[in-house]
């Protein structure tokens, strides 16, 4: 018999070491399907590393891919800390992108230092509304936010299609369902010449720092943690649980909205329905991998982006399916979740003879 007991004080090294070990185990496990696909393992991993660290361009591409994941990971982190299950970051991302396009394609003519903040604000506001609405339904009528936020994603995508065929459609777009491009003054600046990496990354890192301060040092953050851990004790202690849910929802939705702004105003320049290959959903994985720590989100977003970008390069170079990238991400999540369990609990062998 093995008895499982919670560790009283999980050590610092343990909590940091376990995810790193888990990531390595995941990559090792990934060699099984790679071998089955007929690839040379060492060549595959060399190409993978090459795709991440091989050149400045490769490295900045990876960081560009990590940028939206940092935003959506932070959005999930804040909501999940309150045990508010925001599965709708994907929809909120598109709402943010739509708002960015609405104000950033010529509606307002202003210099960059005014226009960019306006676009960011509009996107954040739009995302915030996208999460506030289902949360209101939850606090008022008890509608399960897992269902409402998830389904809202599809509604938002269909609404976006409608807008891209109608009011937001680019008249110069040769009939393609895409928006007009963001005006020059509204585009987030590039960080390096001839690279796609843009100021969205700086905003994402700043946001991570702010979310960390918000959760650990602010009264609102305290309330969000308290409500998430034990809503009835929080209520008994005089915390307004419903208002706290709304607060967490607004911040979470706003950050998810910023992901959309960053993608459309930093990378693409115009909006289409394939802006996000599921960044909103991957954000949940990022947040869980990070153990809902805002600083951890930055690291896990970079890790997941590396796997995606590296696996892409690998599949192109040695000719295996890029779905293997998804597989590695899935394996690493499972490994880290199991690792997290090992970090929190200890296993004690008990003498079977006595039982």
């Amino acid at each position: 018999m093995i008895r499982i007991e919670p560790r009283e004080m999980p050590s610092k090294w343990w909590t940091i070491g376990i995810p790193i070990i888990s990531a390595f185990v995941a990559i090792l496990l990934a060699s099984i399907p790679l071998t089955l696909a007929g690839a040379n393992i060492f060549e595959a991993y060399r190409q993978m590393a090459n795709g991440i660290f091989g050149s400045t361009f490769a490295f900045t591409e990876m960081l560009t891919r990590a940028t939206p994941l940092i935003f959506t990971g932070l959005a999930a982190t804040i909501a999940f800390r309150a045990k508010l299950w925001n599965i709708g970051a994907e929809g909120q991302l598109y709402l943010g992108a739509m708002a960015a396009v609405a104000v950033g394609t010529g509606l307002i003519d202003a210099p960059a230092f005014i226009l960019i903040p306006i676009i960011l604000l509009a996107g954040a506001l739009s995302g915030a509304i996208g999460m506030a609405a289902p949360t209101y339904l939850k606090t008022r009528f008890g509608a399960d936010e897992v269902v409402t936020t998830l389904l809202l994603n599809f509604i938002v995508i269909i609404f976006l299609q409608m807008m891209l065929e109608g009011p937001l459609k680019d008249p110069m777009g040769m009939g393609w369902p895409q928006s007009e491009p963001i005006v020059d003054n509204g585009v987030l600046p590039q960080l390096l010449p001839r690279m796609r990496i843009h100021a969205g990354l700086i905003i994402a890192l700043l946001t991570a720092g702010l979310v960390h301060l918000f959760l650990s040092k602010s009264i609102w953050g305290f309330k969000i943690r308290a409500v998430g851990e034990n809503p009835s004790a929080a209520l008994h202690a005089g915390i307004n649980v419903k208002r706290t849910f709304m607060g967490a929802a607004v911040v979470s939705g706003a950050i998810a909205g910023l992901a959309g702004v960053s993608e459309v105003a930093g990378l693409r320049g115009y909006l289409t329905t394939d802006l996000s290959p599921g960044f909103g959903y991957t954000g949940i994985v990022v947040a869980m991998l990070a153990g809902l720590s805002p600083i951890g989100v930055v690291i896990s977003a970079i890790f997941i982006a590396s796997i995606f970008v590296g696996a892409d390069t690998m599949s192109r170079a040695i000719g295996v399916s890029s779905y293997l990238a998804d597989l590695v991400v899935a394996l690493s999540l499972i490994c880290v979740l199991i690792g997290g369990f090992i970090a929190r609990y200890k296993f004690i062998r008990t003498n079977k003879g006595n039982v």
Partner: protein
């Protein structure tokens, strides 16, 4: 009598939950046709022990032997309720496990009929149950829906169900907690009749009186250990009480005090609260400064609604509630706090603390808007830390430290944390709901001392407790709650209050 045949033997049973030792090398034997009373305070390990007998938990060590139908003592397969059932062990839980929408007959047959049979021939079953009812005197209307039965009747259905499965050993977990004295007396007559048939009964209780009246032998558990076992004929209340508590209770010195102005007034308050619990009917209650008012009663008679009202978690449907003479219109926990109401919740783990947050954080959770905690929306970590260091010193809260999760504290230390939080705010009115439930004597005495100290300072205290001794010891006045109504007890004898708790006129 066949009392010499051993039917059950528990040997060196130990069980731990995390760091809590629930049972520590317990040995218990049970003989045919006897009633063994298992006594102990809340948390002494009685229910855990019985759950292991019934296969709900697996003991960490030790063994259980049961007399087989062939007359041999055979080891019981542990951790399998079906094995316990097959060995002839039946259990009637404190909280019934009946399907309310099925008839009594269907409930009794539930589990012993094959699910996939085409049709059930119930006339044989009905005959068998009728025979059992005639023999034991237990009666229940077989075709009535269980949902329509009284609590006492439901319990009889549970027992009939066990007898129908031909149990040799019947465990009754606090069977009288929900019964009126009359129903309890009937139950004991029935038990006596059943033991004449050779049934052995283990009877869990913490009511000394009924244990002395109806059992053959008494075993006492304390902190998971068996601390004594005597034939009932040699026992008396004092002997058993000493075994249960371990030491003489320390008297809290108290002097009569002149009461001050009213701090809490309930004038004809009715409140439904949540629909599952008993509501409060046109209640009148006044608590003055320098006064502790105890509310005694069997749980589930409206205590929770009363506590919720004063915590700000429920509102009156009619009537008015005044605090310090001010008519309260808006009910929320925060409002109650700002009016100077300190609240010690009934379920300290569920409503009292956030166990995944630190001791320091839990100590300030009710003061998030005070200047020394909240500086323009940010936590004042320095003064929060200072506050925590002072309070763990002052209230003797023992644990791994102020930054450790509250989950690591023991129940007594969690209660001290809550006391610190409540008493440091100098409340005018204190709601103490089951404040010593599950605490060891030291922690319980600490709670009593703090409550008396607050009384001296000028607070009014509403003490809700199921522990009549605690109420008698601490209260200046005693109210009895029954079926949602509060009545002042004039005669403060145990018997008179006991009768009122059962809804009888004293």
């Amino acid at each position: 009598m066949m009392k010499n045949t051993r039917v059950l033997s528990l040997e060196n049973i130990s069980k731990r939950f995390g760091s809590v030792v629930a049972n520590n090398s317990v040995n218990i034997d049970l003989y045919r046709g006897e009633v063994l009373a298992l006594l102990g305070e809340n948390g002494a390990g009685k229910t855990t022990l019985m759950n292991m007998l019934f296969g709900h938990y697996i003991p960490d060590s030790g063994s259980i032997d049961v007399l087989s139908f062939e007359g041999q003592m055979e080891p019981l397969t542990l951790g399998h309720p079906q094995a316990s059932l097959d060995a002839g062990i039946g259990m009637v839980h404190q909280h019934f496990t009946l399907a309310e929408n099925l008839s009594v007959l269907e409930n009794i047959l539930l589990g012993s009929e094959k699910i996939w049979a085409w049709r059930h021939n119930r006339s044989n079953a009905r005959d068998k149950i009728t025979k059992i009812m005639n023999r034991t005197g237990l009666s229940a209307p077989l075709d009535e829906e269980v949902g329509k039965l009284t609590v006492g009747e439901r319990q009889r259905v549970e027992i009939l169900k066990a007898l129908y499965q031909e149990v040799k050993i019947l465990v009754l977990d606090e069977p009288t907690a929900v019964l009126t004295p009359q129903e309890a007396d009937t139950l004991f007559e029935n038990i006596t009749a059943m033991t004449k048939d050779g049934l052995s009964v283990i009877f869990i209780s913490h009511k000394l009186r009924e244990v002395l009246a109806f059992s053959n032998r008494i075993a006492v558990l304390r902190h998971g250990k068996k601390v004594g076992e005597i034939p009932t004929s040699e026992a008396n209340e004092r002997v058993i009480a000493r075994m249960m508590v371990g030491e003489e209770t320390i008297e809290n010195p108290r002097k009569k005090m002149k009461i001050g102005s009213p701090v809490l007034q309930l004038n004809g308050v009715s409140s439904k609260g949540d629909s599952t619990r008993t509501s409060l009917n046109r209640t009148n209650l006044t608590i003055h400064k320098h006064e502790i008012v105890g509310v005694a009663g069997v749980s589930g008679n409206g205590q929770s609604v009363l506590a919720k009202l004063i915590s700000g978690l429920a509102e009156p449907d009619s009537g008015e509630l005044l605090i310090d003479g001010k008519n309260i219109k808006y009910f929320s926990p925060k409002e109650m706090q700002s009016l100077g109401v300190g609240r010690i919740p009934e379920d300290r783990h569920h409503d009292g603390v956030i166990s995944a947050m630190s001791v320091a954080e839990n100590l300030i959770i009710e003061r998030l808007h005070d200047k020394d905690v909240n500086n323009k929306g940010f936590l004042q970590n320095k003064s929060i830390k200072k506050n925590a260091e002072e309070l763990i010193e002052k209230y003797d809260i023992r644990g791994p430290g102020i930054d450790a999760n509250t989950a690591l504290l023991s129940g007594g230390n969690i209660q001290k944390l809550i006391l610190a939080r409540v008493f440091e705010c100098m409340p005018n009115l204190i709601l103490a709901n089951q404040p010593t439930r599950g605490l060891d004597l030291g922690a319980a005495n600490e709670v009593a001392r703090r409550l008396l100290e607050a009384r001296t300072r000028g607070a009014g205290i509403l003490l809700i407790s199921e522990d009549l001794d605690e109420i008698l010891e601490l209260s200046d006045r005693i109210m009895v709650i029954h079926d949602g109504s509060l009545t002042e007890a004039i005669d403060l004898s145990r018997e008179a209050i006991g009768l009122m708790m059962a809804g009888e006129k004293a």
